[in-house]
Subunit: 406 residues, 2 copies
């Protein structure tokens, strides 16, 4: 008999019928003789509804009170899920984050889990009950309710799996798992059976928004093996785990594209030592995250500096920078908001040469101009014209033969 | 500087504008230099919505899970009320029942308050904050969320007033206070300025549903003086307090009518010692509450036994009793569901004679037939035809001169 942690997201518990469906899935797992801790999110839409209700009363609601308010979303789901299990004669008991002993730091709306006391849960598991835990929420040392921020329910599940020393952690969502590329764009994209934490992290931080990075980081830190799978069918999903030797046989695990990018070009920047620092400090002060950065000396003697930001941030960058350039004594700004970022990711890159060359050739053959290039140990990223992003994804997918199962 | 506990019911916090209105009322009280603990209910309708959602999943939801679910109604209101106060620059902090240290017994859906630890609230009060507490809910010794049942938020307010040794407790509702009779029926009904706990208890247990009896009982036990008043205007309300000598000057404080009554008549019941016991035990086993009871020996040698029940229970009584009568060896059942119960209540009755005579004369003069009579130390109750109930109320109100301020 294994202990399994399952997490069901907002769409999986979106209405009465879906909650009943989740109850039946739990019933099946239990019929196989396993103990179960089930983490559920608020039903989809509730969190936004509650935020709207708060904003109608206060433009800038206090974060402590916002967490007090948002926590009711999951509290509703745990109670209803327990009731759905009782309706099919399965003993079950619901836990708020506080009751589940999920202790966080003192930050509201994006608290970090500091400690979990799994004793009450383990006691109810021993008594044969399915334990239903509210995702996304915890309690701080002052007894205040906190929430964990975006992707918080995944984090709850992975942290509980670590604390309860679960044998398995299953993250149920509305997709079948992690794919080699977006299946809506690349027809022969293939579901990945196994992926390393590092690859998943690189993909999560890009267009492939199956999970938030910090949940994957937490799983990596505590060695929690988890599976991403669909709650709407019984297909096996993608298992995310520590890198093992055979994973390196695959050079590229997947291709991800983020279409919401913009490029900002500063040309003829005076070639001064502190110029780049001044620019990126000003952007940081305006809470604008910069991603790729390329700089080279231009023929005019000045410097050309190019960087990418999230599309929404482009206008902010254009607003912030003129004052900086004035101080530095020159430079012109141009922003292009029609940029996409394509990355190929794979731990096999560490031991395989020629990955960049293969990618660039494939894109060149497809007539796609590469605007910027960035690399990490297990990733190569290029910025391309957004209109060419899908073509680029297909070309890269084919170039690395990702449609073939290894 | 006084400490005031205010309680706002579901209609007072029914939507965004009403919550803002509550915030302004709190602001006024605070501007007078008072400390404030504010108890709020779920906005009207929410509790029924949640119960419907539960029933859609499970016909008979587990009571522990039902309390887990229902508690979110007040949790929403406390957060929104705190935000509304912040919006007008009033420091405020919300507390769930558990955070407010409201410890209950282990019963779900109608828990009793066992103990309150007011320390955290007193600390925040001392720091100058308005403390907003979720009504209706608490926590038991196993850390489970409990709810206090109907009228639970009033109970929370009165219990907090006792625990925090508040100077005043104000119960805000959608009526101006307690009236000498229903103002919709008796045009010159008058708001009562002060009423004793015992009178309020008799009225609460009748048609005058301003508050549940147990909240009044709790207030009486702990000597909490409270005022029932409207959140929609600034009129003074009715102060409920321990009986004082001058209250006895008034013979009748008010007249209440309960129209949802039925009368069950058993005629020719064999005149056996255990007959009545057998009948009322059977009704109790079926959870049917009996109110007035009259028995007398009939001319036939048998016994005529008449009692009143809530209208909804009449058919249950008719279903349960035939088996009992068969065992007893006789008796016929007739039920009349067109009954109203009228009561006149006043602590002055203890020292004034002739109250019953005045009431019976007034009803007789109005052509109203009295079907049953019952009395207690401070109350006389009669059962009349429902169609005559309003006339009876007006006649009694006039007979005791209740329109005149004493």
């Amino acid at each position: 008999m294994a202990l399994i942690v399952q997490k069901y997201g907002g769409t999986s518990v979106g209405d009465t019928d879906r909650i009943k469906n989740v109850a039946r899935r739990i019933q099946q797992t239990r019929a196989e003789g396993h103990g179960l801790v089930v983490v559920v999110s608020a039903r989809s839409g509730v969190t936004n509804e509650l935020i709207a209700r708060a904003r109608a009363i206060n433009d800038r609601p206090d974060t402590r009170e916002l967490d007090m308010l948002l926590a009711i979303g999951e509290q509703e789901t745990i109670a209803l899920t327990a009731m759905a299990l009782h309706a099919i004669d399965i003993p079950a008991v619901s836990y708020t984050g506080a009751q589940a002993g999920i202790f966080t730091d003192l930050v509201f709306t994006k608290a970090k889990i500091k400690m979990i006391n799994p004793k009450p849960i383990l006691k109810d598991l021993k008594a044969g009950k399915v334990v239903i835990v509210a995702g996304f929420q915890g309690i701080n040392e002052e007894g205040q309710i906190t929430t964990l921020g975006r992707g918080g329910s995944d984090l709850t599940a992975i942290a509980l799996a670590a604390a309860c020393q679960a044998d398995k952690c299953e993250i149920y969502t509305d997709v079948d798992g992690v794919y080699t590329a977006d299946p809506r764009v690349v027809k022969n994209a293939r579901k990945i059976d196994e992926i390393s934490y590092d690859e998943m992290l690189e993909l999560a931080s890009l267009g492939l928004k199956v999970m938030q990075s910090r949940s994957v980081e937490f799983a990596k830190k505590y060695g929690v093996i988890f599976e991403v799978r669909s709650s709407f069918n019984h297909n096996p999903g993608t298992i995310v785990k520590e890198e093992v030797a055979y994973m390196e046989k695959v050079v590229v695990r997947g291709v991800a594209v983020d279409k919401d990018q913009a490029k900002v070009v500063i040309s003829n920047l005076p070639n001064k030592p502190a110029a780049a620092a001044a620019i990126f400090n000003a952007l940081a002060d305006a809470s604008i995250n910069v991603d790729m950065i390329v700089q080279n000396v231009a023929h005019t003697g000045g410097v050309d500096l190019t960087f990418t930001v999230q599309r929404d941030d482009a206008s902010g960058a254009v607003k912030v920078l003129p004052a900086v350039l004035k101080k530095l004594g020159g430079g012109e700004i141009k922003a292009f908001d029609n940029i996409a970022k394509l990355s190929v990711v794979g731990v096999g890159m560490r031991t395989h040469a020629g990955v960049a060359a293969t990618l660039f050739s494939a894109l060149g053959d497809a007539g796609i101009n590469i605007q910027l290039i960035g690399t990490s140990e297990i990733k190569i990223t290029v910025a391309v014209d957004r209109a060419k992003a899908d073509d680029a994804m297909r070309a890269a997918h084919e170039a690395f033969g990702l449609e073939r199962k290894v």
